[in-house]
Symmetry: C2
Subunit: 292 residues, 2 copies
């Protein structure tokens, strides 16, 4: 056990799942959860997934915690970290679960106490549901968690956090914050923006009713609706905080789509076939990776 006392700030899908997993996998002795929402605190208490619940002010828990995991919406991460800073126990590890890392590292650069070890993190796991009730202990099982410690971070702190996430069932990768943000713009942020757009475009059609869209969604549309049902606040913050990488990906995507559109207009079947054939291989590689 690397951390005896754990404080989770924000008890939603991810936070409550960490609490459940840490308990189930015996990764710490005491688990505290803080949440600014009264309803969430009530729910967390009823679920019995924490040894203590704080409605807003978590200073007394922060003073005891060996590991503090910030699971608030992205936009509030830096402020939450700074508010807790004076209360934290010397030598504590501070981490988060935000989907964007460069923005947070920059926001906190030079502002952290020297005796606190800040190791930003991002578990690549989630569902389209939110709130404490939506969490479950197996959420991180065999899913990647990326840690992006700034240069010079205490190595023991990083090793301890790696061990903690592995203890929850995760695979762990250490990466540079800006590389993380570009990889995620490709594999996660652009797909979400595209899914939101596609579902929005379909809803807005005047000539096709929403009833028809629902009825015939099995033709491909349906897969997009799961992603487009993700938490709107979280995703707004992701796009605004990972702006540069997202805009670059959107531009590339629009270029590629425009090229395919032009091929359709000019009956360039070979160009379409070349493009559609090359995307099959990546599916095979993903399915192969599942097996390993």
């Amino acid at each position: 056990m690397r951390f005896e006392t754990l404080l989770i700030v924000g008890g939603g899908l991810i936070g409550s799942s960490i609490a459940r997993a840490a308990r189930a996998k015996d990764q710490c002795k005491t688990i505290y959860i803080a949440d600014t929402s009264e309803a969430a605190c009530k729910s967390i208490t009823e679920l019995g997934i924490a040894d203590g619940v704080a409605d807003g002010h978590a200073d007394h828990f922060a003073a005891q915690a060996d590991l503090v995991i910030l699971c608030t919406p992205s936009a509030r991460l830096a402020t939450t970290a700074m508010n807790l800073m004076p209360s934290l126990k010397a030598g504590a590890v501070l981490t988060d679960v935000g989907s964007v890392k460069g923005h947070l590292v920059q926001a906190l650069a030079g502002r952290l106490r020297k005796d606190i070890h800040f190791v930003p993190g991002h578990p690549i796991a989630g569902t389209e549901n939110s709130g404490p009730e939506a969490g479950f202990a197996e959420l991180f099982e065999k899913r990647w968690c990326v840690l992006t410690p700034p240069k010079g971070t205490n190595e023991t702190a990083v090793a301890d956090l790696i061990a903690f996430w592995k203890g929850l069932g995760s695979l762990v990768e250490v990466m540079d914050p800006s590389r993380h943000d570009m990889v995620m713009a490709t594999t996660s942020h652009l797909p979400h923006l595209i899914a939101y757009t596609l579902v929005g475009t379909a809803i807005d059609m005047e000539t096709v009713t929403n009833k028809e869209v629902v009825k015939f969604s099995a033709g491909g549309f349906r897969d997009f609706t799961r992603i487009a049902a993700s938490d709107p606040v979280m995703w707004r913050d992701v796009f605004l905080t990972n702006k540069t990488a997202t805009l670059e990906m959107v531009d590339r995507f629009i270029e590629d789509l425009t090229a395919l559109k032009r091929a359709i207009r000019w009956d360039d079947g070979d160009m379409l076939l070349d493009n559609f054939a090359k995307t099959r291989d990546i599916r095979r590689r993903i399915l192969d990776a599942d097996k390993d």
Copy 2:
């Protein structure tokens, strides 16, 4: 039993699944399959899913068939129909499973024998796999099949084909061909084009390796790869034959994506939130429809 003898032309995923389902659900007495591929014919014979298999020339089977279902690639449907025309039994029902209907109806308008009942169809079912081995009897279970009979089509022929598809487990809807093509452009064709594009854009990134794309695909990307692994030839033909509706949908989509991109660039969080919030409802309605 509405049709005693069935001829399926094209024994791939859809054709071989119809054969299996028709047998399993006792929807006809004799099932013939024709396929231009020698390998497919061998496989169909080995699978034992037909009472007779024809390599290319199916005239002798066509002369006996009460129902002929064309399951060839879209681009060959009209030619296949015209080639079989002289051999067909008087009073036979001729249908197909193509994803685009207006194009086929136009291509065959005024060219069909008066004693043949042409009822175009489109079962909205499939997987990313192709070939006779990929088929299974349950493929059409609780899935929609849309029939688009031209005005003046024999009502008994339409009723018999509806009964046949219901017999395979499908839900059936009758629709105008051009309306079908617009609905499918929205719920199926645009989603496929978008998925192909997105996976292509990710593969082509210079700064993110394909290995990283595979590794971190759980963030949203993965869902797109299943659709982007669909049969390239079939989808080339879909886009080229449903050109007008597809191009209109792509234009609308690019407009909507550009608006979201602009909101990201100018930090318009409210606009993003409004758009992301409205797409959740359609997911709930799809899940509700599943329950009914």
